[in-house]
Symmetry: D2
Subunit: 158 residues, 4 copies
């Protein structure tokens, strides 16, 4: 009964208006348990990919109605706290994969790095401050590389 090991939870973050390439990348990332913002675009593609690999998908919705979840969300968590829910997505995951994305994705990258959750990037934001080491986003070149790096990092944190 008592689980000895917590499940691996991987977040996929990214914009609601991805390119076709970004959507395909999100779909390829999959994972045992996927957490995301629960809406369209990269979030929907990631859920679709996870479901086709028999994963479980959790959508942390910003609004007040579960109907805003995309069709591939198994567990819609209806937060009603708007974009502040980005803090929840990033805290809950053992690793975050950022694909493309706009400013909401940038806020999630900031949260994840601040919480000590590793961030794997694929065509996403690059961030730096003059005179400081670059932010430790692990930039990758293909969805396969992103998925492999994310899985390896999540296992280390388990």
């Amino acid at each position: 009964m008592r689980p000895r090991q917590r499940p691996l939870i991987i977040a996929v973050i990214g914009g609601s208006a991805p390119t076709a390439e970004e959507a395909a990348a999100a779909e390829a990332v999959g994972g045992a348990i996927l957490i995301c913002g629960g809406r369209g675009g990269v979030m929907e593609a990631a859920c679709r990919g996870a479901k086709s690999a028999s994963g479980l998908t959790i959508g942390i919705l910003p609004g007040t109605n579960r109907s805003e979840a995309n069709s591939y969300v198994d567990i819609p968590i209806v937060t009603g706290i708007g974009e502040a829910r980005n803090a929840i997505i990033t805290r809950t995951a053992q690793v975050v994969v950022a694909i493309g994305g706009s400013y909401g994705t940038l806020s999630e990258i900031g949260f994840a790095l601040g919480f000590g959750v590793p961030v794997v990037g694929l065509g996403t934001w690059e961030v730096r401050r003059e005179g400081h080491p670059p932010a430790p986003i692990i930039h990758t070149a293909t969805p396969e590389e992103a998925a492999a790096r994310a899985l390896a990092l999540a296992r280390q944190k388990q």
Copy 2:
């Protein structure tokens, strides 16, 4: 692939220091998908009951670390937003079962009623305002009655 029907999610709320009777009641309520605050007391008893019935358990944790989840939580959602997470538990469920409980439970009853989510009570708060109809908490006398009423109400909302 595309789910036609959203899952039934039942919340069980109640205090962290329940009586033995309250804990047994929480354990008996179970449900297909259980959402709760993820910690000890009524929350842990409800998760244990759900797991023994092969349910899936979601813990909406107030703090910043998944280790605060009880051992029967399958999916720990690490909110970091403290007691404000009570709004999330009640918004996400189709029905709320309140067992005993203290002031946190009272805040959840207020949220659920305000969001239009039915509340089934078992030995919990009674609330009224002079000159107004009583708050529509459905008070029940046994765990079996509470579980049956909750399931029937959740199905109506599905």
Copy 3:
């Protein structure tokens, strides 16, 4: 420069559709610094009263736009976190005055009592659990009594 003493902050909570009597009560409560939900009804009446007594008014808004504040709010805090902002109103105050109110007010009463913030009631919810002492809401009969009790309690906590 360095303030030696923190300001007294009094919360007034209550519904958006008060009776004329409830609105008059809210207007009479006033206070040095008033915190509330920032919208209409009891919240607006309380802000109007505080401004006519040269107080400072803070509105903790649920939505994403400062224009939802009533005209008597000096400082609109735009939370975007919906009703979860009820936790912020009650944590920030040294005392809470509940006037009438619906289920949102009930959630705030639950939060305040759980956070150890005293609650003064005027025609508001009565809450009890069988076999337990009544919840320590300080029920009062007039706005003047409510204001006096609230001020005395806030000073004790300063």
Copy 4:
């Protein structure tokens, strides 16, 4: 009585361990009404500067106790929602000034840009995505320039 014009509220964001230069910059930015995270470092320096210019200072605290506010905070808002409060700071301001900063500051920059709130930077993060226009952070070279740009932008939004 009825305010015709909403107050200018300027946010200053930045890390809790600033360089001496960053702290001096924060102190110089000031403003009629300052909103910030309410704690030490850049936040404290900005509050100290605002108080020396007779401004009003608001601290949006992450924790559950007003005692975590720095000594120059006039109005401590006790959110209890942790870093998710970064969304509130940035939504409430008409303009955000980012001075130095770490990953929390990065999350705030992401939020502000996503909410359409202009961001003035001084020695802070630079963010870009390959193949996209640079993020519209207005980078400045001196505290005086940052303060002047922030004030002009806030007035446009009033």
